[in-house]
């Protein structure tokens, strides 16, 4: 039996989060949201700045505790089952630096061991090859560009073949060609290993290309949860970007906003 798979009854749903609520001093950052992700599914978590995306991700990862609601990953409920749940989750973010004073290989080895990965060298090589950066294995973390750091962060997050991969703005600092490499690598990973993906991004085109379903947040609430095209239809827009601009309150109507941009252009 493969290790660190989900419990049999929870095979289809790798993530079940219900009624998540988080209050900061004077703000309700997240207001009773539900997020479910099935095995192998690619889900985008979208919303304007301050919508509650990162707080939601941090709660799902056990780094922030919710004031209300429940989180279950592969049948392991947080916070009690945090360690078991995190065995099945990988996380990377575009804004996260690599640990200083470590070579890429050492960084990956450290995290591989924290996840209990065996045959670690093989996994490191395979991960670096998947994202086409095997030449970086012996580079110091401080020598990498921000794009390279992001790629190494994603390799770190996938070393232990997680059931759920959580990525927070992974392509925020990447050139289009590197971003494409990331999308291709992620799609290949999800398809070949059945890994579910939960990703945030401000790049709507990327989300449309990568994700099968989108959860749209605004002011801490889920306001849409469907395929990208269905959400665009729901908001009478052509695409997610128009929906995003509409929800962010830029322009009164999506089409009007677009025509203003065209006029300026």
């Amino acid at each position: 039996m493969p290790a660190y798979v989900c419990n049999s009854e929870a095979m289809d749903q790798v993530l079940r989060a219900h009624g998540l609520t988080k209050d900061y001093k004077r703000t309700r950052a997240v207001d009773g949201i539900d997020v479910d992700v099935s095995a192998g599914e690619r889900v985008g978590l979208l919303g304007p700045n301050g919508a509650g995306k990162t707080t939601t991700l941090m709660m799902l990862l056990g780094a922030i505790s919710p004031d209300a609601g429940s989180i279950e990953i592969c049948g392991h409920r947080l916070p009690g089952g945090r360690s078991e749940a995190m065995m099945r989750v990988g996380f990377a973010a575009g804004y996260m630096p690599l640990a200083e004073r470590l070579r890429v290989r050492e960084f990956l080895q450290m995290f591989g061991e924290l996840y209990g990965v065996h045959q670690i060298e093989e996994r490191i090589q395979a991960g670096l090859r998947r994202f086409r950066i095997p030449q970086l294995a012996d580079a110091m973390g401080t020598e990498l560009s921000s794009g390279q750091r992001t790629l190494v962060g994603i390799v770190k997050a996938t070393l232990h073949r997680p059931r759920l991969l959580v990525l927070d703005e992974p392509t925020a600092s990447l050139d289009p060609d590197v971003a494409l490499r990331v999308r291709t690598g992620l799609r290949e990973l999800c398809e070949s290993e059945g890994t579910a993906l939960l990703i945030t991004s401000h790049n709507m085109v990327e989300i449309e290309r990568l994700c099968e379903r989108v959860v749209f947040l605004s002011r801490g609430k889920v306001i849409a949860n469907d395929t990208p095209s269905a959400i665009a239809t729901q908001f009478e827009s052509d695409d997610l970007e128009a929906v995003f601009l509409h929800l962010a309150g830029v322009g009164t109507e999506p089409d009007e906003q677009r025509s203003q941009e065209t006029d300026r252009g």
Binding site: P2, A3, Y4, V5, K22, Y24, A29, T54, T55, M58, L61, G62, A63, I64, S65, D67, P79, R82, S83, E84, M86, M87, V89, F91, A93, Y95, M96, P97, A99, E100, R101, L102, E106, Q109, M110, F111, E113, L114, Y115, G116, V117, H118, Q119, E122, R123, K156, H160, R161, R163, E193, G194, T195
Partner: protein, 275 residues
């Protein structure tokens, strides 16, 4: 499908793998930041020169000087057990905040105790290096050999090691709660504990008003037992027993404190300070 390269091996094996991994990470950090060696090289030597010279001066000045000489040098050698143990664990944790690696660590399966154990394990290496250097320097410069005190040193050293780790847990708790502003405690707190513990003198020498504070510190009894050994009166098991008992109580307090601070850290979303 997902055939993960990890195995559901017994959790003890997995814990050991994680502890070793954290320890190795901190070894790399020290290896590549020579300035971090200051704590285990220069500072111990400065301490021996300073307190050894004071001791040598006092020893030549009056009849009780020889006793003071032993108290000063014995005190500084054993104080370095507290110092090195505390600094290694505190700065190990602080390293994760400085390099913004805390979130990376917090979202892995590593358990809190495994992380602290990993940092403490590497800290033992620094402790042996730092305290060893102090002990050797004391022999070389002042012909003072701490090992002549015999086996009685072992329980004293264990108490002081535990005290160092426990102080580090308090420091970590304060940093979790108050952020980087509390980092100064990693070094500053030792300047409070040192005089209160009567490292170089019996606590009766302290002003009466602060003596009760000294009496709740396990390190006070450990240094008291050291002086008994230095006076040639053998192992004072009663005092060592009090030291061990108060260490156990302090352990409960430290664990309760750091657990509460970690809960608060998660509840208030303080991780965003480091991401």
């Amino acid at each position: 499908m997902n055939t993960a390269p990890v195995q559901e091996s017994n959790s003890r094996k997995l814990s050991w793998m994680r502890i070793r991994s954290v320890a190795r990470r901190h070894y790399y950090v020290m290896l590549r930041s020579p300035h971090r060696l200051f704590d285990v090289t220069i500072w111990p030597l400065v301490d021996v020169v300073l307190f050894g010279s004071i001791g040598a001066f006092v020893a030549g000045s009056n009849s009780g000087g020889a006793t003071a000489f032993g108290y000063l040098l014995g005190g500084i050698v054993l104080w370095h057990i507290v110092y090195q143990a505390q600094i290694a664990v505190s700065t190990g944790f602080l390293e994760e905040t400085w390099s913004r690696n805390l979130l990376n660590i917090m979202v892995t399966p590593v358990k809190e105790w495994e992380y602290v154990a990993g940092v403490a394990l590497f800290g033992l290496v620094k402790l042996v290096a730092g305290t060893g250097l102090v002990a050797v320097a004391a022999i070389a410069m002042f012909s003072f050999d701490i090992t002549e005190l015999g086996l009685g040193l072992i329980p004293i050293a264990f108490v002081l090691l535990a005290v160092g780790w426990l102080i580090a847990l308090f420091v970590i708790g304060f940093v979790l709660r108050y952020g980087s502003g509390a980092e100064a405690l990693a070094w500053g707190i030792l300047f409070v504990i040192m005089p209160l513990s009567g490292v170089f003198y019996p606590v009766e020498s302290l002003p009466g008003a602060i003596r009760p504070v000294a009496l709740v510190l396990p390190s006070t009894y450990a240094f008291d037992a050291m002086r008994t050994l230095l006076d040639g009166d053998g192992i004072d098991w009663a005092t060592i027993g009090v030291a061990a008992g108060s260490t156990a109580v302090l352990t409960l307090f430290a664990l309760a404190f750091v657990t509460k601070m970690l809960r608060l850290f998660r509840a208030r979303g303080f991780i965003t300070r480091y991401s």
